[in-house]
Amino acid sequence: MSEYRVTRRSALGSNALRSERICISALPEGHVIQVMGKEGGPDLGAFLSEKIGGGAKFAVRIAAPFQWYVVGDRALSPEETDTMLDTLHPHAAGVDQSHGRVRFQVEGAMVERLLAKGTGTDVSVEAFPVGHSTMTLIGHIAAHVTRVGEHAFEIMVLRGFAESLWDDCARMAQEFT
């Protein structure tokens, strides 16, 4: 069936919710590589940023101790993914999560108030500066949160929960729209 054209369905489509004080928008399903370093091993942040993150801003995020996500808007071919994973060797093991994690962005003046409805993590800019990442519960769903601007956060969530978390965020945003 090589004539059959395989198509890709995105988890959130091109959903967006826009208002003056809050915007929520789906981000491209590009690539997400989970990098697992050696326990007690070196900080691979700089290495990853240079070697596979392409030096892009916020391309490398801390996922957990000795673990990182390398994230980008561009979808990779299997070969490109292989090359990336090979580059990691032997410093770390990599797992392709490009389909398993879905990203969306929440931004606007009320963004901290919105997130505070879901997470017990202090998201004030003093405690959670630009570039900082963490895993936390938003409502009942665990998500990876990165501050990408003074009033902008990126949320990365398991694909199966993406729609549900989106709905929750849209509901939390209601009073600001």
Binding site: G120, T121, D122, M135, T136, L137
Partner: protein, 92 residues
């Protein structure tokens, strides 16, 4: 029960992000006798005072921690990564 639990990696987090396994006690070696295993699997102290427990930061960094909690006041006096605890002998 504590409302906020300090994670050495993530900072203060609500307890909902964690899973508790119970007493942080060392697993017997493979040559341990039946009594040791019975103690490990079934026997627990129930002290009034400080208690070391395994907590998993399930919805956070997914690290297992040893959290030292006062069962009387619920105050948490220490929280460290389990690998650190094993090295320093807290849980081993």
């Amino acid at each position: 029960m504590a409302s906020l639990v300090p994670c050495p990696h993530c900072g203060m987090r609500p307890k909902e992000e964690f899973t508790i396994k119970g007493a942080a006690i060392a697993r017997p070696g493979s040559h341990a006798d039946a009594n040791e295993w019975m103690d490990y699997v079934y026997l627990r102290n129930n002290p009034l005072g400080t208690y070391d427990e395994y907590w998993h930061h399930t919805s956070g960094c997914r690290r297992w921690l040893v959290v030292t909690r006062d069962t009387g006041t619920h105050e948490i006096s220490a929280s460290c990564d389990v690998t650190v605890a094993v090295k320093t002998g807290v849980a081993a």
